[in-house]
C-alpha cells in the first residue's frame, strides 16, 4: 500500500499512542471510567427510585437530559455536514479536519441518544416505541431519523478509514497480532487498485452527498419536537433552520477545540496550521452572525406581538431575577465574542480561537437550556393550588452525574478511537510529491 512521506510522518506522530498506552493515558482513562461509574450509580438510583431523584417534576418534564441530547445531536449533525462539504468540495486544506469532524459526529451521535433514554420514565415499556410507533408523532420521526443518521455517519467514517486500515496493515507498527488482524479484516483487502479506488470514492461521494441533507432533516426533526407543540417559545416556523444553524455553529466551535487539542497533543503544527483555524474562524463568524440574526428575529417577533404567553416567556428570559443573566451570557459569549475574536486580526490566533470557541460551545449549551426550561415553566394553563417545588426546576446531583458521565463517554470514545486510528488521514494527503512504498 502506497503512502506519501507526509502520511508516514503523521503515522510516526500517532504510532506511540497506537502502539502503547502511556501512564498519562491510563490515568486519563481511569478518571473517565470513574466518572462513568458515578454516572452508572446515578442511573441505578434513577431506575430504582424513579425520576423523583432528578429535578424534573410536573412542569419541567424535560430537564438537562433533553438539553444534553439536543446539544450532542447538534454537534453530530455539524460534524457530518462539515465533513461532507469538505469531502464534496475536495477542499485540500480541509483534509486534516475531515476525520476529526467524522469522529466528533460518531461520538456525539452515540452519546446523545443515551440522554433521551434517560428521560424515559418506564424503561420496561421502551420497546413500545418500536412496536407501536405513531407515525404522526415528531418523536417517532426523531427516533427513526437518529438511527438512520447513526448508521450513515458510521458508514461515512468507515469509508474514510479503509485506506488507512490498509496502511496500518502494511506498516511496521509495533502492535499486537490481534490488532494487526483487525486492521487486515477492516481494510477489506484494499490495495489501492484502480477499481477499488473508484468504488471507494463513489461510495464516499454518495455518503457525503446523503449525509448533508440527512443532517439538515434530522436537525429539523429535532426542532419539530418542540416546534410542533403549541407552546410559547417553541411553536415557531424558524425553529428548523434555527436548530440547523445552531448545530453547525456549535459544531464548528467544537471542531476548533478538538483541532487545537489534537494539534498540540500530537505535534501536528505542520498539518493543522493557523490557516485552518482562520478558515474555521471565518465559518464560525458567518454562522455566529446568522445565529445572532435568528435569535434576534425570534425574540423580537415574540416581544413585539405582545401575545400573552409569548410575552410572559420573554419577560422571564430577560428578567435579571429569572433567566436574564443566562440570556445575556448566551448572546454575548455565544454570538458577539466569537464575531469580535474572528473579525479582529490580532485576536484571530489558534489559542484565542480555542478560548472563544470553548466559551461559545458552553454558551450554546446554556442556550439549549433556555429553549427547554423557561418554556416548560410557562404553561398555557397553570396548575392550581400546587406546591412551589412542582413549578420550579433545580438540577440534582443525579442529573449532573449523568451529564458528566456523558461527557466522559464522549472523551472515552475519542481516546479509544485514538488507540486504533490516526486522527488525520495518512493514506491520501495533499502533498503527494514523494511517494514511497511500504511493504510489510
Amino acid at each position: 500500500m502506497k503512502i506519501t512521506n507526509t502520511g508516514s510522518e503523521i503515522l510516526r506522530n500517532f504510532s506511540p499512542q497506537m502502539e502503547h498506552t502511556s501512564m498519562g493515558e491510563k490515568i486519563w482513562i481511569t478518571i473517565l471510567l470513574l466518572t462513568l461509574g458515578v454516572a452508572g450509580y446515578a442511573f441505578y438510583l434513577q431506575v430504582a427510585y424513579g425520576h423523583g431523584v432528578t429535578g424534573m417534576r410536573d412542569y419541567v418534564v424535560w430537564g438537562i437530559f433533553i438539553v444534553n441530547f439536543m446539544f450532542l445531536i447538534g454537534l453530530s449533525y455539524a460534524g457530518a455536514i462539515i465533513a461532507g462539504f469538505l469531502h464534496l468540495f475536495k477542499a485540500e486544506w480541509g483534509k486534516p479536519l475531515i476525520r476529526l469532524a467524522q469522529l466528533m459526529t460518531l461520538a456525539s451521535v452515540i452519546v446523545g441518544p443515551i440522554f433521551i433514554l434517560l428521560c424515559v420514565g418506564r424503561f420496561d415499556r421502551l420497546y413500545h416505541l418500536f412496536i407501536y410507533p405513531r407515525l404522526q408523532s415528531p418523536l417517532t420521526w426523531d427516533v427513526i431519523a437518529v438511527m438512520t443518521f447513526l448508521v450513515g455517519s458510521f458508514l461515512f467514517l468507515y469509508l474514510g478509514l479503509i485506506r488507512d486500515f490498509a496502511v496500518y496493515r502494511d506498516s511496521n507498527l509495533n502492535i499486537p497480532k490481534w490488532k494487526h488482524n483487525l486492521y487486515r479484516w477492516l481494510a477489506l483487502g484494499y490495495n489501492g487498485l484502480e477499481s477499488q479506488k473508484k468504488l471507494l470514492l463513489s461510495s464516499q461521494n454518495l455518503m457525503a452527498f446523503l449525509l448533508i441533507p440527512i443532517s439538515i432533516m434530522v436537525a429539523s426533526i429535532l426542532s419539530w419536537i418542540f416546534g410542533m407543540t403549541l407552546r410559547p417559545g417553541w411553536h415557531s416556523t424558524i425553529f428548523g433552520p434555527y436548530f440547523v444553524l445552531g448545530a453547525i455553529y456549535s459544531g464548528t466551535g467544537l471542531l476548533i477545540i478538538i483541532a487545537w487539542y489534537t494539534r498540540r497533543m500530537y505535534k501536528l503544527e505542520k498539518y493543522i496550521t493557523p490557516q485552518h483555524f482562520d478558515y474555521l474562524g471565518y465559518i464560525m463568524l458567518v454562522l455566529a452572525a446568522g445565529y445572532g440574526y435568528f435569535t434576534f428575529s425570534e425574540y423580537f417577533t415574540s416581544w413585539y406581538g405582545s401575545e400573552k404567553w409569548d410575552g410572559e416567556l420573554i419577560n422571564k428570559l430577560f428578567s435579571m431575577d429569572e433567566y436574564g443573566w443566562m440570556t445575556l451570557f448566551t448572546n454575548v459569549a455565544g454570538v458577539i465574542l466569537p464575531i469580535i475574536f474572528v473579525a479582529v486580526p490580532k485576536l484571530r490566533k489558534p489559542n484565542s480561537l480555542f478560548f472563544v470557541s470553548a466559551i461559545m460551545v458552553f454558551a450554546m449549551w446554556v442556550k439549549r437550556y433556555l429553549i427547554v426550561v423557561p418554556t416548560l415553566l410557562t404553561p398555557l394553563i397553570p396548575m392550581q393550588d400546587t406546591r412551589q417545588e412542582y413549578i420550579h426546576y433545580s438540577i440534582t446531583w443525579v442529573e449532573w452525574a449523568l451529564t458528566f458521565g456523558g461527557v466522559a463517554l464522549f472523551f472515552l470514545i475519542f481516546t479509544i478511537a485514538g488507540k486504533f486510528v490516526t486522527f488525520i488521514e495518512v493514506a491520501e494527503l495533499p502533498q503527494e510529491e514523494n511517494v514511497k512504498t511500504q511493504n510489510q
Partner: protein, 330 residues
C-alpha cells in the same frame, strides 16, 4: 400522603442537593463503597421534592419527633331505603397542613339512650383518607329524642395519635319521583324528617340534582323545598346516556346540620343513546391511522436513504472481492 418516613427521605434529598453534600457523597461512594445504605437514603418520593426540602427537617430531627396529630371528621348520607352511610375522614397534620391518611382502621359506634357505645363495625381508610360503612336504620339504637348518635374512632399507632369524631343525626328521607309529560322531564322531590309523630316536611332545603358522568357528577338542576317539603325541578333533555340512553340521576340535600346528606337516586331513560362500539377512525393526524400521504412520503424518504446505504455496503463487498482477486485468493 406524606408519612414520617417520607419526610425523612425528603430531608435526605435536602442534604443531597447541597453541593458540599454531593462532594462528600461522591467521595464516600468512591472510598468507602457504601452503596446499599446510600441507595436507601437516596430514595425519594415524588411528593417530596428538592426545592420542597429546604423547609423540611433533617432525617435525624424527624426521628426524635413524637407521633403526628391526627383528625377525624364524621359525616353521613341518608338514603330512602332506610340506610345510612357513615364517612369517617382521617387526616394528619404534616408540615402545617392536614393531609389525608389512607389504609388506617376506623371503628364506628352508635350510642343508645343511656349513652353506651355499641360497635357498628370497622373499615380501612381509602386513598382519599375516607373510611365508609353502610348501616340499616332498623338495626341502630336511638337516643331519647329519636336521633342517632355515632362515633368514628381511630385508635392511633406508632406514627399517628388517636382521634375521634361524633355526629348526631335525625332520621330523614329524600324521595324522588320521575315524570315525563310532552317530552318534558320533571323530577318531583320530597324531603321529610322521620319523627315518632310521623313524617315532618323539611322546609326551605336546597335540593341539587346531578347526573353521573365519566369521572364525576354533573349538576343539572336545583330547587328549594316548599312548605310541604316538596319541589319540582325540570330535568334537561339532550344529555348523553349509555348505549340504551339511561342516565344515573342523583338528588341531594347536602351537608345539613340535623340530617347530614339526604340522597335519592334513580336511573331514567332520559338521555340519548351513545354506543360504546368502536367505529373506525379516518386517516388523520389525530387518529391512530396516519394520513396516506404521510405514510407514502415516509417510506419514499426512508427507502431512498436506506437503498443508498445498501448500495454503499454492496460496494464494500465489491472492494473486498476485488482485493481477493488481485491477491489470487478467489
Amino acid at each position: 400522603m406524606i408519612m414520617k418516613k417520607e419526610i425523612a427521605e425528603a430531608g435526605t434529598l435536602f442534604l443531597i442537593n447541597r453541593w458540599w453534600c454531593r462532594v462528600g457523597f461522591i467521595l464516600a461512594l468512591l472510598l468507602a463503597g457504601l452503596y446499599p445504605s446510600v441507595a436507601q437514603d437516596a430514595q425519594a418520593d415524588t411528593t417530596a421534592t428538592p426545592a420542597d426540602t429546604t423547609e423540611a427537617p433533617a432525617a435525624e430531627e424527624v426521628e426524635e419527633e413524637t407521633t403526628i396529630k391526627s383528625k377525624m371528621s364524621l359525616s353521613a348520607d341518608q338514603y330512602p331505603d332506610g340506610t345510612i352511610v357513615l364517612n369517617g375522614l382521617l387526616r394528619a397534620k404534616i408540615e402545617g397542613s392536614y393531609q389525608k391518611v389512607p389504609d388506617k382502621k376506623v371503628e364506628f359506634f352508635v350510642l343508645n339512650a343511656a349513652g353506651e357505645e355499641s360497635p357498628i363495625g370497622d373499615t380501612l381508610t381509602s386513598l382519599a383518607g375516607v373510611a365508609r360503612i353502610k348501616v340499616s336504620k332498623a338495626t341502630l339504637a336511638k337516643g331519647e329524642d329519636g336521633s342517632y348518635s355515632f362515633i368514628a374512632r381511630y385508635a392511633g399507632d406508632e406514627r399517628f395519635e388517636e382521634s375521634e369524631s361524633d355526629l348526631i343525626l335525625k332520621s330523614a328521607m329524600l324521595t324522588m319521583e320521575a315524570k315525563e309529560e310532552d317530552s318534558t322531564y320533571t323530577l318531583s322531590l320530597t324531603a321529610a324528617a322521620e319523627t315518632p309523630e310521623g313524617p315532618l316536611p323539611i322546609v326551605g332545603a336546597v335540593v341539587s340534582v346531578y347526573v353521573k358522568r365519566m369521572f364525576s357528577s354533573l349538576k343539572v338542576a336545583e330547587g328549594e323545598t316548599d312548605d310541604a317539603g316538596m319541589v319540582e325541578v325540570e330535568f334537561p333533555a339532550g344529555l348523553a346516556g349509555d348505549e340504551n340512553g339511561n342516565l344515573e340521576i342523583t338528588a341531594m340535600i347536602e351537608e345539613t346540620d340535623e340530617y347530614g346528606n339526604l340522597t335519592a337516586a334513580a336511573t331514567q331513560k332520559w338521555g340519548y343513546e351513545v354506543s360504546a362500539e368502536i367505529v373506525e377512525t379516518p386517516r388523520a393526524l389525530w387518529s391512530p391511522h396516519p394520513p396516506a400521504w404521510m405514510v407514502i412520503t415516509f417510506f419514499i424518504l426512508m427507502g431512498a436513504v436506506w437503498i443508498h446505504y445498501a448500495i454503499v455496503i454492496y460496494n464494500l463487498f465489491k472492494i473486498r472481492s476485488h482485493g481477493r482477486h488481485a491477491s489470487g485468493k478467489a
